[in-house]
């Protein structure tokens, strides 16, 4: 605790403030976001100056002329800062400025409170057992969920009660009943799944009794794929953690499987990315493969649904890869190196002349990558599911004349096709292309080889 703590506070409030400013700029006028950013920056500079002044006045060399000069400069700087603050106060919305100004103090308070909490006996008792802390977290999340829901719906219920919109209600219910019917023909039918059945049942019941659709049914209907993908992630995590906790010298079947996979993934990705970046990216890429593969074959289980057959999930994953690739490029190349890469690494006159052409080409190429990644995965898995539905329907309708309770299992061969070929190949393609995008953006080892070649050339002379 000390100066390093203050530096950390500054850093986290800067990052959090920039994220908040971006969020504000997305939903509100830009002036609010600009005011927030300006207030935040002002507050941070002010804090830094104050820290500098206090350090100079209490440091070891206080009273020397050099220290006095620095002190004077700092005071002049804070005067300039106050002038700038007054100017900003007239230019930008005051509330946004105040919010930005308060953020570092908020971060300071929260950090201090969390540090105090971490050292307390209560916290130690709560985190003594893994299950106990998980239970506490669950209770907290549930409490917040229902609390927020209650506060959000309470004013609306009061308003409805006072206005007594009794005659309007059936009309509204009728409208909401008509809307899904109009929506239904859009898009093909899929295999029904567990969450979908529950949600549709609740919605159907609400429509029949002309009551409002319950919130949890709407939630289930909207977030069906997200629940499934989270469930898959949970499944993979539980299996991996349980195996990793019971690590033995003589591996059981699950441990042998995981060890084989990890070793293969390590060799595979390190072989492509090279020894420097390979080990760093193996956890991300290997997990990506396992995650996508399990999500792909999840739809083959009865009453389950492949999350990857929904565009939202695949776009989210492709965007994650895109952000990670750009982050690594910025980290390894620096901003100028990234610009140089985007301009096609101009080294001679022809290269510089081609910059205006190369820049948009590279930019469009970067943006096209996540689109093609997500559309490919979505299209393949969705198409596979549709194929299964089509053949299952065909099998049922083939025997419909006999009125039997079952149909011909015409879709079973295609299930093997999906499980053995499409699912692993698409997971491999997604992971492989992500690896290649990393490889293209990261600095190459060409220079090293070039120098060696030149040295050899010199030796030959």
């Amino acid at each position: 605790m000390g100066l390093e703590f203050l530096a950390r506070v500054r850093r986290s409030s800067l990052i959090a403030g920039l994220v908040i400013a971006l969020a504000i700029a997305a939903v509100a006028p830009w002036k609010l976001a600009a005011g927030f950013t300006a207030g935040l920056l002002w507050s941070l500079v002010n804090l830094a100056l104050l820290q500098f002044i206090v350090l100079t006045m209490t440091g070891a060399e206080r009273g020397t002329p050099a220290a006095l000069t620095r002190l004077g400069l700092a005071f002049a700087g804070s005067l300039v800062l106050f002038g700038a603050g007054a100017f900003l106060l007239f230019q930008l919305p005051a509330m946004a400025l105040a919010a930005g100004f308060t953020l570092p103090f908020l971060v300071l308070t929260l950090k201090g409170a969390s540090m105090a909490l971490l050292e307390s006996a209560l916290w130690r008792r709560l985190t003594a057992s893994r299950w106990q802390s998980a239970l506490v977290l669950l209770v907290l999340v549930g409490g917040i969920w229902f609390g927020v829901d209650h506060f959000r719906t309470a004013p609306r219920a009061i308003a409805q009660g006072t206005e007594s919109t009794q005659p309007e209600k059936p009309a509204g219910a009728h409208e909401s009943a008509a809307a899904p019917e109009a929506k239904k023909p859009e898009g093909p039918k899929e295999f029904s799944n567990l969450i979908g059945i529950i949600a549709e049942g609740a919605i159907h019941k609400a429509e029949e009794t002309h009551t409002e659709v319950p919130a949890w049914a709407k939630f289930l209907e909207h977030f069906e794929v997200i629940i499934y993908s989270l469930f898959v992630a949970l499944l993979i995590s539980v299996v991996s953690i349980s195996v990793a906790n019971n690590w033995t010298m003589i591996p059981g079947p699950l441990q042998a499987l995981l060890e084989t996979w990890v070793e293969h993934a390590y060799n595979f990705f390190t072989g492509i990315l090279g020894p420097k970046y390979g080990p760093q990216l193996v956890p991300f890429l290997g997990t990506l493969f396992v995650y996508i593969y399990v999500m792909n074959i999840f739809g083959l289980i009865p009453f389950m649904h492949s999350p990857t057959s929904n565009l939202n999930v695949t776009v989210a994953m492709a965007l994650t890869v895109f952000v990670y690739v750009q982050f690594m490029a910025f980290k390894e190349l620096g901003f100028l190196g990234w610009l140089d890469h985007m301009a096609g690494s101009p080294r001679d006159l022809v290269g510089w002349a081609l910059v205006p052409l190369m820049m948009p080409v590279h930019l469009i190429g970067e943006i096209a990558k996540p689109i093609s990644l997500s559309c490919r995965l979505f299209g393949n898995i969705f198409g596979e599911d549709m194929l299964l539905v089509g053949f299952a329907t065909l099998g049922v309708s083939a025997l419909s004349a006999l009125h039997l309770p079952f149909g011909l299992p015409l879709h079973v061969p295609f299930m093997f096709l999906a499980g053995i070929i499409t699912a692993p190949v698409q997971a491999l393609v997604f992971t492989m292309l992500s690896t290649i995008y990393f490889l293209l953006m990261l600095p190459h080892d060409d220079h090293g080889h070039g120098e060696h070649a030149e040295e050899a050339h010199h030796h030959a002379h």
Partner: protein, 76 residues
């Protein structure tokens, strides 16, 4: 021609045409890979990986047509 009739005629035809292109592409990829493996059997693993990836590229074009059909098939 009616809008619905045009869609009903065009959508399957579109998938068929896309499948022709993809099929030619996949055939050429498989041809090249098989020849390469025949010439250099020790490089089989590397060639197969590259073949699968390029095959996925070629296949994706038909999938795009397929997705378009499914997105528009509700309007017929």
């Amino acid at each position: 021609m009616d809008f619905h009739a045009a869609l009903g005629l065009g959508l399957p035809l579109g998938v068929g045409i896309a499948a022709i292109g993809s099929g030619i592409g996949l055939g050429m990829i498989g041809n090249g890979a098989m020849q390469a493996i025949g010439r250099q059997p020790e490089a089989t693993a590397k060639i197969q990986t590259a073949m699968i990836i390029i095959g996925a590229f070629a296949e994706a074009l038909t999938i795009y047509a397929f997705v378009t059909v499914f997105l528009l098939s509700g309007k017929i």
